[in-house]
């Protein structure tokens, strides 16, 4: 090796380090009280979501559901005597650190009065402490990990939580599928998957079933044959995949390629457009969902119809939950009669709204108690359909 001409000498390195530290320090000092309450003009609300990246389907569905609810409210004359909602959307590229910076920007620069998002629990967990610190209420539409709302009293959600979802999956596997021995595949990079796995294991064991030691993979993996072969050798009656749809679709395919024909079971993380890449391998799978688009309830059908007209496809649960989250926020702003952070927080804490995904009544843990539905996954004519099977109440 030749002697480098322009080397990073220790002195220069030290200078750079000091510069970086100085920058970091100024960043840390910048802390203003958020939730700036204005009394005129548009009410600015922020949404952060995974519009691109691994979880793109989550972010795009949430954006559409959110936008539709905001437009409806503005079409109906706005809030607080005619003030319109102004929605700002930030993309976090499916990355937790980007979620944190997106929310910081929304609060400190755009001065939003409330934050909506995320779907993936890991990203909600990254952003929630920031909302809490600035006293800006955050409503996550679809993060089911129990820890999300435990971050603080400004963090709310409009979906059920994983301890319940795990119970639903365990009961369905034990009761309806008559499974006595199940295998669980978990994505160790996702808080959602880890939490849901714990819950499934706990409830299935409590019912008297046997759970094989959970097998781990990581988001972004593509070759699951080795872990599936190991699972196959233990002959489980049902395989539960607690991760998200990009991996679930490939796991389904490779499981079937290895001759594993048993039912596959997934949580609401399976709900994403790219799931369809699992193709025929998805047949004989079931998921736990937040709502069914086939529900004859007029509230649901009106929402499904209008969404279809606007976006040319049926709304999935992520769109429905995002829609509901806006409705809860709007209702709370109306009752609080202000957009001031603490007052708005108190109003959300007492929210009770009839949503598309069920009755949304905030409990003292800032969660809602809602039923879950089980749907069969079927692949036909190049697309996935979720067929309603049962509703399970908490």
């Amino acid at each position: 090796m030749d002697g480098p001409v322009n080397a990073l000498t220790p002195r220069r390195a030290r200078l750079i380090l000091i510069g970086a530290l100085a920058l970091a320090a100024t960043g840390a000092c910048e802390r203003r009280p958020g939730g700036a309450a204005t009394t005129t003009g548009d009410i600015v609300i922020g949404m952060y979501g995974s519009l691109t990246g691994d979880g793109a389907s989550f972010g795009q569905s949430s954006r559409d559901g959110t936008q539709m609810a905001v437009d409806e409210i503005n079409g109906g004359g706005g809030l607080l005597g005619g003030r319109k909602l102004k929605l700002l959307i930030e993309d976090d590229q499916s990355k937790p650190d980007e979620a944190a910076s997106a929310v910081t920007k929304l609060i400190t620069q755009d001065k939003v009065v409330a934050v909506l998002g995320e779907v993936a629990s890991r990203r909600s967990l990254a952003a929630a402490p920031i909302c809490q610190r600035y006293n800006v209420p955050m409503i996550t539409p679809a993060s089911t990990n129990a820890r999300v709302t435990e971050v603080g009293d400004y963090i709310f959600r409009v979906c059920f939580i994983d301890p319940f979802q795990g119970e639903v999956l365990a009961k369905f596997a034990f009761g309806d599928l008559k499974a006595r021995k199940i295998a669980v595949l978990k994505d160790i990079q996702q808080d959602y998957s880890v939490g849901l796995t714990e819950s499934v294991v706990q409830h299935f064991t409590a019912l008297g079933g046997v759970v094989l030691p959970p097998v781990s993979y990581s988001s972004g993996d593509g070759d699951f044959r080795a872990i599936l072969t190991q699972v196959r050798s233990q002959k489980p009656d049902v395989v539960v995949v607690t991760g998200y749809y990009p991996e679930a679709s490939i796991i389904a395919r490779q499981a079937r390629e290895l001759g594993m024909e048993m039912p596959l079971l997934g949580g609401d993380g399976w709900i994403g457009d790219a799931l369809k890449n699992g193709r025929e391998a998805l047949n004989n799978s079931y998921i736990c969902d937040h709502y069914s688009a086939d529900n004859p309830d007029p509230v649901v059908q009106r929402f499904v119809q209008e969404y279809r007209t606007r976006f040319a496809h049926a709304p999935d649960a992520m769109a429905a939950l995002a829609y509901d989250a806006v409705k809860v926020l709007a209702d709370s702003i109306t009752r609080a009669k202000t957009t001031d952070g603490p007052a708005l927080r108190d109003a959300i804490a007492h929210a009770e709204v009839a949503g598309v995904t069920g009755r949304l009544k905030m409990n003292d843990k800032r969660n809602v108690d809602k039923p879950a539905v089980i749907e069969a996954v079927t692949f036909k004519d190049g697309d996935v359909k979720f067929v309603y099977k049962a509703t399970i109440n908490p």
């Binding site: 090796m1 030749d2 480098p4 691109t52 990246g53 691994d54 793109a56 590229q93 499916s94 160790i188 030691p213 097998v215 781990s216 993979y217 990581s218 593509g222 070759d223 044959r225 080795a226 872990i227 072969t229 190991q230 196959r232 050798s233 990009p246 679709s249 490939i250 395919r253 390629e257 290895l258 001759g259 790219a274 890449n277 193709r279």
Partner: protein
């Protein structure tokens, strides 16, 4: 026993993927002493080229082996051109500088392709169309798909093909001469620029073939897909002895088997770590790799 055999098959299918990419690493290194870190990203470009070609031909709805070969050839041609372009624009200007300069340039090209790819293709993963109908063969409870068989077959054919080119053809002789001493080869009338460009074209075409084949078996592609796979293929090339063509094959298979073996245990999530642990060990204990021979450099 059945499980063990199945894992062996899984390991070989995965290893063949690494081997296919490692062959390209090894060839460029063999001629230029340059670790082309952008190789894994050319592999990614190959998968994307195949994706767009296959969608343009609507192969998802009408799978056909013949058209799949057309798509693969198209992707190989595109990537060969990209490879030559990269060499011309990024590596040739710094060829006579220190080796470290080339290495850093290679890392720069790699980052450019990865993040440029995110701008052009978007960061969201895409799903590769099924150009060939997926079939599973079962022999005594051991399952293997036609796609995995294809990857293994192509890797073996490519290995022998490369051996033949390097050992038996005129251009191969020129490559070896360039590898041995660039200036001397030039003085003997060998158009070394052309030889190097050819090496890059061939290596990049192989990477593209690898990209398309892997995307058939593991249908998820994204602009960062070449990062980890490329690094592991690099480890495979070093393990087998960088510069050695059979070594790349052997190294790829070994890494594949090791990863599969580890995945089968409770430590499945450490499988990325194992490749890099191997890299460190091999560099400490036998830097020339298993099949490589340490060559004393004349100064």
């Amino acid at each position: 026993m059945q499980t063990l055999l199945q894992q062996l098959v899984n390991g070989l299918s995965l290893g063949a993927i690494y081997a296919l990419i490692a062959l390209g690493y090894t060839m460029v290194y063999g001629v230029l002493r340059l670790i082309n870190f952008a190789h894994g990203d050319v592999y990614m470009l190959g998968a994307f080229a195949g994706y767009f070609l296959a969608n343009a031909l609507q192969l998802d709805a009408h799978p056909s082996v013949l058209w799949a070969m057309v798509v693969t050839t198209g992707a190989m041609a595109i990537c060969a051109a990209v490879g030559v372009l990269i060499e011309r624009l990024a590596y040739r200007p710094v060829r006579h500088h220190s080796r470290l300069t080339s290495l850093i340039t290679a890392i720069g090209v790699s980052l450019l392709l990865e993040y440029g790819g995110q701008v052009v293709f978007g960061a969201a993963p895409r799903f590769f169309p099924q150009m060939i109908r997926s079939e599973t063969y079962a022999v005594g409870g051991v399952q293997i798909t036609n796609q995995s068989l294809l990857i293994i077959a192509v890797a073996v054919v490519v290995m022998f093909g490369l051996q033949f080119i390097v050992r038996r053809t005129r251009i191969g002789k020129a490559m070896r001469a360039t590898s041995y001493n660039l200036s001397a080869a030039k003085l003997m009338g060998i158009d070394t620029d052309w030889v190097i460009a050819f090496t890059f074209a061939l290596g990049s075409a192989l990477a593209a073939a690898g990209g398309v084949l892997v995307a058939l078996a593991i249908p998820r592609i994204d602009p960062l897909m070449g990062l980890m796979t490329g690094l592991k293929a690099f480890v495979a090339a070093v393990l087998g002895g960088i510069g050695s063509i059979p070594g790349a094959m052997l190294g790829g298979m070994l890494i594949g088997l090791m990863e599969t073996g580890l995945s089968a245990t409770a430590y499945s999530t450490y499988r990325d770590a194992v490749a890099f642990a191997v890299l460190i060990l091999i560099l400490l204990l036998r830097p020339a790799g298993i099949l490589g021979s340490a060559r004393t450099e004349k100064v």
